[in-house]
Structure formats: structure tokens, C-alpha cells
């Protein structure tokens, strides 16, 4: 059996990728968070407010 890695690669740093990364990082796994764009945040960072609280997305 091969030795297991303690790292996880997450592709896509939108809100889902960020949450998966934070959970793993806070559970003592090493995370590589890879995104296509120069900035993380994905679709949610483009939104103005969010339903159903009308809180500011940013």
C-alpha cells in the first residue's frame, strides 16, 4: 500500500472551494487551492446583495 498524502487539492476558489479548503485546513490537512483567475472569490464576489437577508455579498 502506498503512503497517503496529507494534502488535498481544491480546484476553484469560489465560495464552495474556499469553504472546502477552510474545513480541511482547520482539520490539519494541507490544502492547495487552485484558481484560474488572479483572484479568489468566484461568482459570489460579483454579487451585490444576497438573498434572503439582503446582506452585502462582499
Amino acid at each position: 500500500m502506498t503512503e497517503k498524502s496529507g494534502s488535498v487539492l481544491v480546484l476553484g476558489a469560489g465560495i464552495a472551494g474556499m469553504q472546502a479548503s477552510l474545513d480541511l485546513a482547520n482539520s490539519d490537512y494541507n490544502v492547495y487551492l487552485v484558481d484560474n483567475s488572479p483572484t479568489i472569490g468566484g461568482m459570489m464576489s460579483r454579487l451585490d446583495k444576497t438573498f434572503p437577508t439582503n446582506d452585502c455579498a462582499m
Partner: protein, 946 residues
């Protein structure tokens, strides 16, 4: 809302951000993958770049701003938005002319025109794909006029229009003439529920809610009356409390909802207004003119994501979602590679976050034995005791390249700081945040025996933590640190008046020095974590959560009030996809009972509870025993479930031909449908009414599932579904389409005119007003099926004992509906399954795995460091007036009747400071924000004479 998460991700020592990159290939096997990445050039080194923005300010090239949906311009050297992480610029080489101005301007020497595309390799045990989606491009749909008529915009563009940081700075304007519209139409289902024109047969699940939101926000932004109309086939507000949001828009804010099928949009040439031609519910063609039209575009997987899936040999469905088996919602076709978010299937933010945690659960569980192997452990030297020392403050004034130094006379500020009381050292730096300056600060702290540090630079939001770590690294308590924001709050604001900016910088530094002098050493209390979890409820949710934690290596006590595991799902036979629920539950129970990490307590009642995160103790009574058992545990997962509503409507219980959907499911399983000629189903029974405003989410698909079963068992049977809105969201839409193709008849009714039901010898007679025929229709049914909603399990006793909050419908309340859908407001307590809100089995499984992941973030540690920023009461002066007890939003202060003192448990204090402000004797202080630490700033400011 997202920006604190951006910062957390950017700063986390266990997260390595790799931007401008994609996966080329994944080889190897689960647990030990070799990943090849393609790293495209950014041309600006994100490590060296300080985000000062001088490059972009001097860039002479104007480029289209993709981030603002092409509605405005940016420079070729750019950053997407102000809060971006990493806070580093990039060069868009498609437009860059290579003039070299930015390279000359960059004092940090971060610009590298010779940056090249590279490939790199790394090792990972698991992979999570969360590549997301983009909005559907409506250019191909001629009849909508998008791209032809300037005032037809997509909902993505409209979000940017509404945004304060968008192209119009948040002013509601239409693109053509920048006039404020008086009438806006939203057209739903553009690129969704439309296989013929867009190829997308699915419902995008989010557009109804965001259209409602955009309409409400537009009304807020508008200066006069704004008429908002949402043209729709069905309104699908199926999420937790979403129906209440829809009702608020409709009844309170006056947003109009029009049932329609859009025929075409034409432009009124003189005005740029738009005529919306549509077919109404009666089949008549109508026309209405609007100043602006917003297309509610659906979610669409990008072609390059499809190519990636092909490269990675991951199967996608016909719409390019990874959407997997209902009982394994976040698995892909390739072991060790998981999926979440919209790539899995169309969904909103809370569902994406839930699934992300579920994917983290499985990805981590595969590697449980290697947990901690790849992370860096940071060691901090022992703290230097400064008690009894006079304050010795070091002040570091930052030039931030020329961001501050180009406007503020930094040497003058430094010299002024040296004259202030308690200041023993001053310096100014080109970039105070750079690694070499950090090293220099450490040397100076030791050499000059500094015991407090003030940095005058940028925002504590982005940089405070970093400087605090610098203090810690040389043995100084990190709370002996203060920042003066002389950039964001000064040089950037007063760039046209350098003298005023310099004076204000001096004022801000004087305030900070005064506060630094009265700062105190604070200790972050460390509490051990009990590594056992308590899970309440042994249905599909509780069992999945238990298995998730068991695989991570943690002990679980699973408490079930019933004498057997399985919960409400025992009443169900198969999913709409055809998966066998009974067999799944049997397997789940066998797995749980075979897992030596899981202790199952059936027929068990919770009778006592105490403690806080990491250290709970719960008392239970098993099998009616006289003895209570005390279970110690570090986390709690609440999975108490829900069941089908027992209708009081439509003569239910009076005639055995009137049944619920669950009862119909049993009947079809046992007796088939060969004796059924006609079945009528009525939707929204016990949901979307005055008693229960919310939608029960699952009933529409349940009705469609049973209708399809009837048609399968007896193709000649006639099935009528009487509905208000059909809410077969996401990929469920395909089943709705199939039901219509098979001849199931759907008839819409209004809440105000519900069907009338009368039992007769000849069958159950149902009378309903048909909107298309505009007259009453009588239907004879062998069986009337009521789509009864879901009601939460009775948790009155449990919620009282454990102090867990529920909404008026009895579902437990999460910490935040958007960003923390699995956490409960109290730390260390998590929530999953239909105890949270009605949901499908696949969604329940995802949330259960998510709860296990969230719990693992606690259980993976041996101890937790509590925040030092908490309220502390001086019991000598406290008169026990209990004002704090009454005022705390989290019920933290309690009166200890034994010791006769007020106690504030720092483990549960949120640090908001409300109690300190209400205390009439000022005997409560919030650490780091003590009264003198605030008034010292006020005094210092006003001592300068303004």
C-alpha cells in the same frame, strides 16, 4: 460577507493559494495523486506586490473590465476588486502595450515582463473540484434582443449595476442613457427549463430568488416609485424561509409577478424602452413596455470545465454537471476526486457551502491517517514578562511605496512621533509589511527593549494579524500592538491636500500611541477538547454524520429516541431517480452498527445538558432506566429530522380514498396501480399557507415521482396534479418534463381559490377553476392524494434542555442562513438533515457529511485557544443588578447563586461589548477595548486641538 472568508483563506498557514492556474492532469491513485498544473504568467509577483496600485494608476492602456461584466473600463494592469485576495495586481497581456511605465513605477520591484507559462507538479491525497459556473450567455436567443438593445441586460450585469463598487457606483441606471428606469421587467428561465432553445432542460434553482432580491434592492435604490415585474412560469422559492422573502416582495414591496411565456422583445426606437410581448395564462398575447429588461440567466458549466473533466476522466451528465448518485452526492465517477457547488448541480450559496463541507469530509476521511503530516507547526517563543515596566513604545511609519510617502510627509510624522510620551524608538519604512522590515522590527524590539508597538500604515483588517505575529515571534504579547491607518483613512482620502494629510497622520499616530500606552498583556485561555461527538437522531442524517466522523477516527455516541435506527426515511421506498431507499437504510444501519467507533443508544432520551464548545456533558436515560448516564463530548450534531404533515384539509381522515403522498407510495409498492383510472394530487397541503408560510421543498418532486410510478404501472391511468407553482428545481425538472410528456395533467390554482373536494360513491370529486379555460372543471378521482408538507419532529423538550433555538415552524436555526448553514449559533454545535429544514435525501446526506466535517475542525485539535477579546467583570464593584444578564444577546453572563457573583464564561463570550456599555457601574470591561483604551484615543485626539 465573503470578504472575511477571503482574508481567512488568504492568511491560513495550511492553505497554499495557486492563482492563474489550472489542472493539466491527475495521475496516481486515491490517497497519492500526482497532479500537474499549468501556471499562467501573472507578470506581477504576488509575494512582492503590496497591492499599492501605483502600477495601475500609471498604466496608459484602457481595457474592458470583465469583472464589471464589461460595463466599464479598467487599466491593463489591474486588480479585480478592492478586497481581492491575494491583494496583488496582474497584467492583462491581451491589452498591455509593454510600455514599461508600471515597471518603472513599482518600488517593490514586483513586475516581471519576462514571466512565462510553466507547469508544476504536486502531490495530493484527494482532490475536490469546485470549478463553479458562469451565467448563461443569452446572445444566441434572438427573440430577447440581448446585445442588440442596450437596455436589455443580464442579471449578472444588473448585479454589478446595483453594486456600490460597480460601474455606476450603485446608482440605478440603464446603460443606454444612464437614466434611472421607472419600470423594470425581469424575465425568468433564460437559459433554464428550455431544452429547445438553450439546450438546458434543468432549472437553475437560484434565479427566482435573485430576481426577487434584485427587484427589492432596485426599489430601495430608486428615487421615486419603481415598478418591478417578474415574468415567470413558476416562482420557485423553495429554500428555508425563501417563501417568506417572496411574500415580502409581493405583498409588502409591491413587486409584480406575472405568469407568462415570453414571445419576443422589441425596442421602442425613440426612447430605447422595450416592449415585452408575452402569452398570458389564458393563452392571450399581451404587450407591456418597460424602461429596462433584466434577463434572469441560468447557471451554465463553462466549456473549459467540460474539457477539464474529460482530461481527468470524470463523467458529466447531459448538462455537464457532475451530479452523482443520490446516496453519494459529492462523489465523482473517479475515486478520490470529489465535487461540490454548482459544478455538482445548479444550487444556491448555502447549498454550495454545505456541499463543500461534505466534500471536505470525504476528501479528508480518505487521508485520516495522514492528517497533520503535511502541515507546518509554528512554534512561538516564551513570552517576556513586562509587568511593572513603563511603556516603551516603538513607532514604525510606513511609506507604502509612494501610497503614503507620496502625500504624507512621513519623516515629519516620524519625528513628531518621537516627541510623544512613552515613545522610545521611531523609524520609517518603504514597506513596513515586507519580510525584511519584519526582521528589522524584531531586531529593534529586542535591542531597544520595546514593550509596545505602533505601526502607522494601512488597515488592521488586512495587516494587524501579521504584525501581531511579528510581536509574538520575539516574545512580546501580541495584544501590545496598535495600528494607525494613515493610508486608507488618510493619504488615499486626502491625496489633494498633502499638508492636511500630514497633520491628520500626526493626529492618528498620537491617538494610537496614547492607546498603546494603556494596552495590557492578554492571555488566550487554552481549553482541552474532548474528542468524542454526540449525535442526536439516528435517521439518514445522524447515521451519515456518525460514519463521517468514525472514518476521521473520532468516537461517536449516536442517540436515537426510537427503538430502531432509520427515522422517517423508513416510510419511503425509492428516490425519484429510482434508487432503493430501503436497501440503502439497511446498509447504512449495518455500517453504523459494525463501526467500532460508533456507540448506538436506541430508545434514549436526553434529560440533562451542560458545558461549552469542546467540553459538553449530556445526561441520557436509556431504555427507561432509572439511572442517568452522563456522556462527555466535545461537539454535538443535531439531526432530529422531520416527518410528513397529517393534513386537516380536504376531508383527510374521513375517506380512505383520500391519502397523503407517503401513503400513496406505500399503496403503489404494495398494490400497484392497475385498479386506478384517475388519480388527483393537490399540492401545498400544509405548506405555503397562513399557518406555515414556507414551502416544504420536496412535495413537488414527490408528486411527480408518484405520478411517474402510476404511469409506469398503469399507462392508461389519468393523473392530475393541481398545483400553485411546480418547484422541481435543479435536475428534478427533467422528471417534471417527463411527466408532462407521459400525459400527466398539471392544473394551476390560486391560493385564494383552492380545489373543492367531495367524496361520493363514484369516487372523490374535485372541482377546480382552470386558468386556461377560465371555468370550473370537475375531475373524478379513484384516489385523491394530498401533497402534505414536512413538519419538524417535536423537539420542545430537547431544545429547552440544550438551549437550542428553533424558528416558529420548529426547525432549528443555523448560525447564518447564507454562510454558515451547518453551524448552530453556539460554537461546537452543528445541524443537519430535515431538523434544519425540509430537504431531499441526497441533500440530507450532503449536510450530514458537512456536519461531520465542521465537527472535525474542532475534534482534530487537542485544545482550543479562546479569544482574549472577552468581557471580564470586576466582582468587587458589581452590585448584581443583572443588567448584563438581561442585555447579552447570547445569554453569557449568569448569576452564580452559590458564590453570589456574576460570571462571564470567556469560552462562550462573543466579545461584542454590549454588557460593558450597559453596566451602570462600569464594572465590566472588554479586553483590548477597555474604557481607557477608547477614551485615551478620544483624549489624545482632542488634546491636539483639532
Amino acid at each position: 460577507m465573503i470578504s472575511p472568508k477571503l482574508v481567512e483563506v488568504g492568511r491560513h498557514t495550511n492553505i497554499n493559494l495557486i492563482t492563474n492556474s489550472e489542472i493539466e492532469n491527475i495521475e496516481g491513485e486515491p490517497g497519492d495523486f500526482d497532479v500537474t498544473l499549468v501556471n499562467r504568467p501573472r507578470y506581477i509577483d504576488p509575494v512582492k506586490c503590496t497591492g499599492c496600485g501605483e502600477c495601475a494608476r500609471h498604466c496608459p492602456v484602457t481595457a474592458v473590465n470583465y469583472y464589471n461584466m464589461n460595463l466599464d473600463d479598467r487599466r491593463a494592469t489591474y486588480i479585480e476588486y478592492a478586497q481581492a485576495v491575494p491583494l496583488a495586481f496582474a497584467i492583462d497581456t491581451d491589452t498591455c502595450i509593454g510600455c514599461g511605465l508600471c515597471e518603472n513605477m513599482c518600488i517593490a520591484k514586483a513586475i516581471d515582463y519576462d514571466d512565462k507559462e510553466r507547469t508544476s507538479k504536486l502531490k495530493a491525497g484527494s482532490v475536490i473540484l469546485s470549478a463553479g459556473s458562469r451565467g448563461f450567455d443569452p446572445s444566441s436567443l434572438d427573440y430577447l434582443g440581448y446585445g442588440k438593445f442596450p437596455n436589455v441586460v443580464t442579471s449578472e450585469e444588473f448585479e454589478r449595476i446595483l453594486s456600490a463598487s460597480g460601474p455606476y457606483f450603485g446608482h440605478l441606471m440603464r446603460p443606454l442613457d444612464r437614466e434611472e428606469p421607472k419600470k423594470i421587467a425581469w424575465l425568468q428561465c433564460v437559459g433554464s427549463r428550455d431544452k429547445n432553445r438553450s439546450g438546458n432542460g434543468y432549472c437553475s434553482s437560484v434565479c427566482c430568488m435573485y430576481a426577487v432580491k434584485e427587484a427589492m434592492i432596485s426599489k430601495e435604490h430608486a428615487h421615486g416609485d419603481l415598478d418591478c415585474a417578474i415574468f415567470n412560469m413558476d416562482i420557485r422559492t423553495f429554500g428555508k424561509d425563501y417563501e417568506k422573502y417572496y411574500l415580502r416582495a409581493k405583498d409588502k414591496d409591491g413587486v409584480r409577478f406575472v405568469k407568462a411565456r415570453i414571445h419576443t422583445i422589441t425596442e421602442v426606437p425613440e426612447t430605447g424602452d422595450l416592449s415585452v410581448w408575452y402569452v398570458d395564462e389564458t393563452g392571450a398575447t399581451q404587450e407591456e413596455t418597460f424602461n429596462m429588461v433584466v434577463l434572469s440567466i441560468g447557471l451554465q458549466i463553462q466549456p473549459k470545465t467540460v474539457e477539464l473533466a474529460q482530461r481527468l476522466r470524470i463523467e458529466l451528465n447531459e448538462y455537464n454537471f457532475t451530479s452523482a448518485a443520490p446516496f453519494a452526492p459529492v462523489k465523482t465517477s473517479r475515486p478520490g476526486i470529489y465535487t461540490c457547488g454548482v459544478l455538482q448541480g445548479p444550487k444556491d450559496i448555502p447549498s454550495s457551502i454545505t456541499e463543500a463541507s461534505a466534500a471536505a469530509c470525504l476528501a479528508g476521511a480518505d487521508l485520516a491517517e495522514a492528517r497533520g503530516a503535511d502541515i507546518q507547526k509554528i512554534t512561538v517563543p516564551d513570552e517576556i514578562d513586562i509587568s511593572g515596566q513603563e511603556p516603551r513604545i516603538g513607532v514604525f511609519v510606513c511609506n507604502c511605496g509612494i501610497n503614503i510617502g507620496g502625500i504624507v510627509d512621513v519623516p515629519a510624522v516620524r519625528e513628531y512621533a518621537a516627541t510623544l510620551p512613552n515613545v522610545t524608538f521611531t523609524d520609517d519604512n518603504l514597506f513596513t509589511c515586507s519580510q525584511d522590515t519584519q526582521d528589522k522590527i524584531k531586531e529593534v524590539i529586542i535591542e531597544h527593549k520595546l514593550n509596545r508597538v505602533v505601526v502607522a500604515s494601512c488597515s488592521p483588517k488586512t495587516h494587524e494579524q501579521m504584525f501581531m505575529e511579528t510581536l509574538e515571534a520575539c516574545g512580546i504579547n501580541k495584544y501590545l500592538f496598535e495600528m494607525a491607518n494613515i493610508r486608507n483613512q488618510n493619504s488615499w482620502i486626502h491625496s489633494k491636500t498633502p499638508e492636511i494629510a500630514t497633520q491628520k497622520a500626526k493626529d492618528l499616530v498620537r491617538m494610537s500611541v496614547a492607546r498603546a500606552a494603556v494596552l495590557n498583556t492578554l492571555k488566550e485561555k487554552i481549553v482541552p477538547i474532548n474528542k468524542q461527538a454526540l449525535i442526536i437522531g439516528g435517521g439518514i442524517a445522524g447515521m451519515n454524520a456518525a460514519l463521517g466522523l468514525g472514518k476521521q477516527g473520532f468516537d461517536v455516541v449516536l442517540v436515537e429516541k426510537d427503538t430502531q435506527l432509520g427515522g422517517f426515511a423508513r416510510q419511503l421506498h425509492h428516490t425519484i431517480e429510482g434508487e432503493d431507499i430501503g436497501a440503502y437504510i439497511e446498509k447504512l444501519i449495518a455500517d453504523v452498527e459494525a463501526d467500532n467507533k460508533i456507540r448506538v443508544l436506541k430508545n434514549t432520551r436526553i434529560v440533562g445538558f451542560e458545558g461549552f464548545k469542546g467540553n459538553f456533558a449530556t445526561e441520557v436515560i436509556v431504555d427507561g432506566s432509572d439511572d442517568k448516564e452522563k456522556i462527555k463530548h466535545g461537539v454535538i450534531i443535531v439531526a432530529t429530522g422531520a416527518s410528513e404533515y397529517k393534513p386537516e384539509e380536504y376531508s383527510y381522515g374521513e375517506d380512505k380514498r383520500i391519502v397523503t403522498q407517503v401513503e400513496l407510495g406505500h399503496r403503489l409498492e404494495e398494490q400497484g396501480a392497475s385498479d386506478l383510472d384517475s388519480v388527483v394530487m393537490i399540492q401545498c397541503v400544509g405548506s405555503r399557507n397562513d399557518e406555515n408560510e414556507n414551502c416544504s421543498r420536496i412535495c413537488c418532486q414527490n408528486a411527480v415521482k408518484n405520478a411517474l410510478d402510476i404511469k409506469r404501472l398503469n399507462p392508461d391511468a389519468q393523473v392530475y396534479i393541481l398545483y400553485r407553482d411546480i418547484r422541481t428545481y435543479g435536475l428534478l425538472e427533467d422528471y417534471y418534463t417527463k411527466a408532462r410528456e407521459l400525459g400527466v395533467i398539471f392544473i394551476r390554482f390560486d391560493q385564494a381559490a383552492p380545489p373543492e373536494v367531495q367524496a361520493s360513491d363514484d369516487g372523490v370529486l374535485v372541482r377546480i377553476k382552470d386558468h386556461i379555460l377560465q371555468q370550473d372543471v370537475d375531475i373524478r378521482a379513484d384516489l385523491l392524494t394530498l401533497s402534505a408538507g414536512m413538519v419538524a419532529e417535536d423537539t420542545d423538550e430537547l431544545s429547552g434542555i440544550m438551549k437550542l433555538n428553533r424558528n416558529p415552524e420548529g426547525f432549528f436555526i443555523e448560525a447564518h442562513v447564507k454562510l454558515r448553514p451547518v453551524d448552530m449559533p453556539s460554537d461546537g454545535i452543528f445541524l443537519c438533515g430535515s431538523a434544519h429544514a425540509p430537504k431531499l435525501i441526497s441533500e440530507t446526506i450532503a449536510q450530514a457529511q458537512a456536519a461531520a466535517s465542521r465537527a472535525t475542525t474542532f475534534l482534530a485539535r487537542d485544545e482550543i485557544k479562546l479569544s482574549a477579546i472577552t468581557a471580564k467583570v470586576d466582582t468587587d464593584y458589581c452590585v448584581k443588578c443583572l443588567t448584563c444578564v438581561r442585555s447579552c444577546p447570547f445569554e453569557v453572563p449568569v448569576f452564580n447563586t452559590h458564590e453570589k457573583v456574576i460570571e462571564i464564561n470567556e469560552a462562550i463570550c462573543h466579545g461584542c461589548g454590549v454588557c460593558t456599555a450597559v453596566c451602570p457601574r462600569e464594572t465590566i470591561q472588554l479586553s483590548f477595548y477597555e474604557d481607557d483604551q477608547i477614551t485615551s484615543k478620544i483624549d489624545a485626539l482632542l488634546a491636539g486641538g483639532m
